[in-house]
C-alpha cells in the first residue's frame, strides 16, 4: 500500500522522527496564536522555504497535497469579502494552509516504520489499561493487510455483477464484499489463535 512518505529523498528524511513531531507541535501552537497578517505571512514564507529546501519535485507533490483545501479557501474568501473584509479572510486562510503544509512536511519525510515505532513508544502507558503495544501493532498490521484485500474483493464482485447485468451495482457490492471479508477475518482469527493468540 502506498504511503504519503515522499520518494524524493530530502535532508529531513534523515532526521529522527520524534524531534520532527515535537517541532511540528510547537510550530502549530505558534501558528494558532498569530492573528495578524504580517507574522502569518512570514510563517507561511518560512514553511514554503522549508518545503522548497527539499527540492522542486518534493515541493510539487507537497503542493498537490494541499489541493483538497481549495473549496474551504474559496468559501472563507468569498464570505469574508462579502462581509466587507478588505483582506478577504487572508489571515485564517494563511494559517490553515501553513498548518496543513507543515504537518504534511513531517508526514512526507518520515517513514511509516518510524511512525509506528513512535506510536508503540507512546502507547506504552496504555499497557496498564489492558492494551499492550504489541496488540496495537498487530491491529495496525492487520488493517494495512485488510485494505487491499477488501478493495480487491469489491472489484471482483463489481466485475461479476457487471458481467451478469447492464445496471451499475452501486451499493449492492457492499453486502457480498462484507460477507467475504468477514469469512476471511474468521480464518485470520483462527490462525492467530493457533499461533498462540494476540499476546
Amino acid at each position: 500500500m502506498l504511503t504519503l512518505t515522499s520518494p524524493h529523498d530530502t535532508w529531513a528524511h534523515r532526521l529522527p522522527a520524534a524531534p520532527k513531531m515535537v517541532a511540528l507541535a510547537l510550530w502549530t501552537v505558534a501558528l494558532f496564536s498569530l492573528n495578524t497578517l504580517p507574522p502569518l505571512l512570514a510563517a507561511t514564507t518560512a514553511t514554503g522555504a522549508l518545503i522548497l529546501s527539499g527540492g522542486l519535485p518534493f515541493a510539487r507533490t507537497s503542493a498537490l497535497m494541499l489541493r483538497p483545501l481549495w473549496p474551504f479557501v474559496l468559501i472563507v474568501a468569498l464570505w469574508q469579502g462579502w462581509l466587507g473584509d478588505p483582506t478577504w479572510g487572508a489571515a485564517p486562510i494563511l494559517r490553515l494552509i501553513t498548518a496543513v503544509a507543515a504537518a504534511n512536511f513531517v508526514t512526507m519525510t518520515t517513514r511509516l516504520s518510524d511512525m509506528i515505532t513512535i506510536l508503540t513508544t507512546l502507547a506504552r502507558p496504555l499497557a496498564s489499561l489492558g492494551l499492550p503495544p504489541r496488540r496495537l501493532a498487530l491491529a495496525l498490521a492487520l488493517v494495512l493487510r485488510f485494505i487491499p484485500v477488501m478493495l480487491h474483493q469489491m472489484q471482483t464482485i463489481h466485475t461479476a455483477f457487471r458481467a451478469r447485468s447492464h445496471r451499475r451495482p452501486g451499493w449492492r457490492v457492499m453486502v457480498p464484499t462484507l460477507l467475504a471479508a468477514l469469512d476471511d477475518a474468521d480464518h485470520v482469527a483462527e490462525a492467530l489463535r493457533a499461533r498462540g493468540g494476540t499476546g
Binding site: 502549530t28 483538497p68 489571515a91 511509516l112 494495512l144 485494505i147 476471511d184
Partner: protein, 180 residues
C-alpha cells in the same frame, strides 16, 4: 479476543476502503463519499465500544500517513485542517450508533437506522460544525448552512447502513456484536 481484534481491524479497513471509492458530486458541489457509511456500520454492527475502537484505529492509521481519508487525504495535516471536527466526531458517532442498537430492543432495521441517524448526523454534525467554525474563523450559524448540503446524502447512507446491518445479522449472526 482474537475474533474481536480481527473484526475491529476489518472494520477499520472497511472505512478506509469505502473512502477510496470515487466520490459522487451532489448538486451544489458537495462531495458525498461512502466513508461515513463505514463509520455508521462500525457502530451498528460492532456495537458502541468496539465500533469506536475500530474508528480510532482507522484515525491512527490516517495520522501515521496513509492516504485513506476520503479524497486521498492523510497524514498529521488533516488534524489541523477544517475537517478536524468530523475526525474527532467519528469515533463518538460510531459509539452512539452502537449504543442505540445495543439498548433499543426494536427490530434491527429500525434500531440500526435510528442509531445511524443519531450517531452519524445528530451527534456528528454539531462536532463537525464546531471544528469548521474554529478553523475557518466563522460563527456556528454560518457553517450550519453548509452542513445542510450533506443532509440528503447522509440520509441515504443511514438507510443503507440499516439495510446492510440487517443483511449481516441475517447471514452472519455471530458478527453482530451489537446484539450479543
Amino acid at each position: 479476543m482474537e475474533k474481536n481484534l480481527t473484526l475491529i481491524a476489518l472494520f477499520a479497513a472497511l472505512i478506509a476502503a469505502l473512502g477510496l471509492l470515487p466520490a459522487m458530486m451532489l448538486p451544489g458541489g458537495v462531495p458525498i463519499t461512502a466513508q461515513s457509511l463505514g463509520i455508521m456500520l462500525c457502530g451498528t454492527v460492532l456495537g458502541s465500544r468496539r465500533g469506536a475502537l475500530a474508528v480510532l484505529l482507522f484515525l491512527l492509521i490516517v495520522a501515521l500517513g496513509l492516504p485513506i481519508l476520503s479524497g486521498g487525504r492523510g497524514g498529521i495535516g488533516v488534524f489541523f485542517g477544517p475537517s478536524v471536527g468530523f475526525l474527532i466526531g467519528f469515533p463518538i458517532a460510531a459509539f452512539v450508533a452502537g449504543l442505540v442498537v445495543e439498548r433499543l430492543k426494536a427490530p434491527i432495521l429500525v434500531s440500526a437506522g435510528l442509531g445511524a441517524v443519531l450517531g452519524g448526523m445528530v451527534v456528528l454534525y454539531p462536532i463537525g460544525a464546531v471544528g469548521w467554525a474554529l478553523i475557518l474563523g466563522k460563527t456556528l450559524p454560518e457553517v450550519g448552512i453548509f452542513l445542510l448540503g450533506f443532509l440528503p446524502g447522509d440520509l441515504i447512507k443511514c438507510a443503507l447502513a440499516a439495510l446492510i446491518t440487517r443483511a449481516i445479522g441475517q447471514m452472519r449472526p455471530g458478527v453482530l456484536l451489537s446484539r450479543d
